[in-house]
């Protein structure tokens, strides 16, 4: 027996706890199975996939982190551009990047195909790390050190955009990452930037 025909505006007399029709059961089952797939994809990608936001996360004093970054920049400095040091650490090294209103410090020079431990933190307010043109985005918060294992897969001249509102100069906050290939060349101009090309050709 079905519940008496009624709209959602009518009070429901009697017992309305009735079995659903097959069509409804079918859709609920499909939707539930799909939700399980949505869930399973995440642990699966940790296991088999190459891009995960896990990293190593620690609490850090913002001033101490800034000092560490300045020391790192001095140690591996190979040049400068617009007043910012270009820093080329050896493959496998811990790489420090600090966000402060309205600057990314320093400029990084990395090698294609090598793994680095990239540390992100902020000296002052929240910032957003957005690697252009790859569209890789991470949140950067003061007093948290977000260390991600990264392996650049293509050479090129990349930018870091700030994508978390950090104050009135937010839109001027751009940093630079250079990735060189095995011959030491950064092949790219970003005019050919597009999804799917790894940002470089």
């Amino acid at each position: 027996m079905l519940t008496k025909v009624h709209t959602g505006l009518d009070p429901v007399p009697g017992v309305w706890w009735k079995p659903a029709h097959k069509a409804e059961k079918l859709w609920v089952s499909i939707a539930f199975a799909w939700c399980i797939v949505l869930f399973a994809m995440m642990p699966l990608w940790h296991w088999k996939g190459g891009q995960n936001p896990s990293g190593v996360r620690t609490r850090v004093d913002p001033k101490a982190y800034y000092a560490r970054t300045v020391a790192f920049a001095k140690q591996y400095k190979v040049g400068d551009d617009r007043g910012l040091p270009i820093v080329q650490p050896p493959p496998g090294a811990d790489v420090y990047l600090v966000a402060l209103t309205f600057q990314w410090f320093p400029i990084l020079k990395l090698q294609q195909g090598k793994e680095y431990m990239l540390h992100l933190s902020s000296l002052d307010v929240n910032h957003g790390f957005s690697l252009f043109p790859l569209n890789v985005n991470f949140a950067v918060a003061p007093s948290f050190d977000y260390a991600l294992r990264v392996t650049p897969t293509a050479a090129g001249d990349f930018r870091i955009i700030c994508n978390e509102f950090c104050g009135i100069g937010h839109h001027t906050m751009v940093g630079r990452v250079i990735v060189v290939d095995s011959t030491g060349q950064a092949v790219a101009d970003n005019t050919a930037a597009s999804l799917g090309h790894g940002g470089a050709r």
Binding site: N126, N163, E164
Partner: protein, 592 residues
């Protein structure tokens, strides 16, 4: 409607509170004090919409890089104004009206402590005016999220607290009114599904507003120097337990309005009360964890925490939306079939009243919310896929599809029915009203596609100048991005024209509209939606017809084959979009 919901036999209103009128369409008893509360909340809501829409126009014309209207300071300031007015003041004042409507009008009940209702309304109004003053005077340039260590004037936080206290008070009155209705037996059996959905929204509102207190009280104390520091990650965690759960109030309220408009416009029936009510319960149980999907690429939380909180629990809320996404159109289909529109798979849809702004709003709200808002939201809310979406324009692309094309559109559709039913006036500019849902939806879809595509190229949200003219390094975006930003500008103009039309229609109708003495039956009247002059009545043998449509011989397609095909299309679109994003993610650097 199939049966007029009259008070139970023997019902008599308490002495001194007999100020009722009887609705000429639904025969419900409407308490006049409650009616006034519905009216004032709805009017303030529409004023907030007007401010928010004007802000939206300025923002769209700034993000359209070729126009780039506002200077930087005003862009960020107006962005904060837009967020507060749209996501908080417009939506929550309207929801207060919905709560009063559902608990009193739909249950023939009197409101609990109406004077206290005025007190709460005043608190909310003072709170919102304080926030407006702080934002417009440039003392709260911290955007809608106000993440510390960015600091605003203490009155900004205090204004939000006052507003939230008032809203919490109204929610309390809603529960008290439900209790009164039950005790005074103003209805028979279980409360209507629409009221049940509003109750789910109210419960989520309690959870949301408590999180709001947890986040804004310490932040207020920090702003006046009592607390030395607010942990930026803890703030983001608690803020999103407010910010996202607030959207779940909207979803529950919106789905209730879907059921309501379905009933009013096409005689949509409730397929199965158990299934629909369970879906509302899932919203309540699983939504506060959804805070986590705003923190997927944050440094403060581990992967296990992120996966458990976004998926294991949040996907149960996704399940709930997918269930409503079936039961709402299926209820409409069955309602139409019972009324004789039985041709083919989609005869019921073709013969639907597309010229009724209540119906067109409903169908656009369901379709855009589900296909655009739902699919993009679940996809970018996946732990790893969030890497290619976080804080890009893909995020506002998603939530404009849910909150604006979904919730706001549904609220507008409801207003076209509330104007004659509650304000007892004709809807002014009737031809414009009929076109408004089409204009608004088309404009918003253009904005949403523009944002989503631009975001896929990495264009950040909340950003004044993506030409980076004052930055030390060039950022040469793909030229296609200019096209997508132009879509935001042009779509924004159209959508704001749609929003302005709505405000114009609502204000003209409410204050100067032609009064309706009685609703003529069986004729078409300009200014009165067809669901009120030609109510979608089911035939006397509806129950018998319903049994036939449910007969096992009709197979698993059952009574609603058209809807089953539609959700099939939805499911394929969902899978395609979801797995395409995993593919795009796999092109990136190796990150772990």
């Amino acid at each position: 409607m199939t049966s007029a919901a009259l008070p139970a036999p023997g019902y008599s209103p308490p002495p001194g509170l007999a100020a009722y009128r009887t609705c000429p369409v639904t025969a419900r008893k409407i308490n006049l004090q409650a009616e006034t509360l519905i009216k004032v909340n709805a009017v303030v809501s529409i004023v907030a919409l007007l401010i928010g829409a004007t802000a939206a126009l300025l923002l769209a014309l700034t993000r359209w890089q070729a126009v780039h209207l506002l200077p930087a300071v005003w862009y960020y300031r107006i962005l904060g104004v837009h967020g507060m007015n749209m996501l908080i003041f417009f939506i929550i004042f309207f929801e207060m009206a919905v709560l009063w409507f559902a608990s009193t009008v739909l249950l023939n009940a009197r409101p609990a402590a109406p004077k206290y209702g005025w007190f709460n309304f005043a608190l909310m109004l003072v709170g919102s005016l304080t926030v407006e003053a702080m934002q417009w005077s440039g003392r709260a340039d911290v955007l809608y999220t106000s993440y510390p260590p960015l600091k605003a004037h203490p009155l900004f936080y205090l204004g939000i607290i006052l507003f939230a206290v008032g809203a919490l008070g109204v929610v309390g009155q809603f529960f008290a009114t439900l209790t009164i209705a039950k005790r005074e037996k103003t209805y028979e059996g279980s409360m209507p599904l629409v009221v049940y959905g509003a109750m789910a929204a109210a419960i989520i509102a309690v959870i949301t507003l408590l999180h709001g207190a947890m986040v804004y009280i310490p932040t207020f104390l920090w702003s006046i120097g009592v607390i030395r520091e607010v942990n930026p990650q803890m703030y983001r965690l608690l803020w999103w337990a407010l910010g996202h759960s607030a959207q779940q109030i909207n979803v529950a309220a919106m789905v209730s309005i879907w059921y309501m408009l379905g009933g009013l416009t096409v005689g949509a029936v409730v397929l199965n009360e158990k299934v629909s009510r369970w879906a509302f319960v899932l919203y309540i149980l699983f939504i506060s964890m959804a805070s986590a999907h705003h923190l997927l690429v944050d440094p403060g939380f581990g992967s296990a925490w992120k996966i458990v909180n976004t998926s294991y629990f949040m996907y149960m809320a996704v399940l709930a939306s997918m269930v409503h996404g079936f039961t709402v159109p299926a209820g409409m289909e069955l309602g139409m079939r019972l009324r004789g529109y039985t041709t083919g798979l989609f005869g019921w849809l073709r013969k639907a009243p597309w010229g009724d702004p209540g119906f067109s709003s409903l169908i656009f709200s369901v379709v855009v919310f589900g296909f655009f808002g739902g699919i993009t939201g679940v996809t970018i809310g996946t732990e790893q896929i969030n890497i290619i979406a976080h804080n890009t324009l893909r995020v506002p692309g998603h939530f404009h599809a849910t909150v604006v094309s979904g919730t706001a559109m549904a609220f507008m559709g409801a207003t076209y029915y509330l104007i004659p039913l509650i304000f007892r006036r004709k809807v002014a500019f009737w031809k414009l009203a009929k076109a408004q849902p089409y204009l608004f939806t088309f404009g918003m879809l253009t904005v949403e596609f523009g944002m989503t595509f631009a975001g896929s190229f990495g264009v950040p949200r909340r950003h004044w100048d993506i030409s980076f003219s004052q930055a030390p390094f060039d950022v040469p975006f793909n030229p296609a991005v200019d096209l997508f930003l132009a879509m935001i500008g042009i779509g924004g103009i159209l959508a704001v024209a749609g929003a302005y039309s709505f405000v114009l229609i609502a204000v003209k109708s409410v204050f100067f509209g032609e009064r309706i003495a009685e609703f003529p039956k069986g004729v078409v009247v300009a200014g009165i939606p067809q669901g009120l002059t030609n109510p979608p009545v089911h035939p006397a043998n509806a129950d018998e017809l319903n049994e036939q449509l449910h007969a096992p011989s009709r197979g698993f397609l059952g009574p609603t084959p058209g809807t089953l095909v539609l959700v099939g299309v939805f499911f394929v679109a969902f899978m395609l979009y979801y797995f395409t994003n995993w593919k795009l993610l796999s092109f990136l650097w190796k990150i772990g």
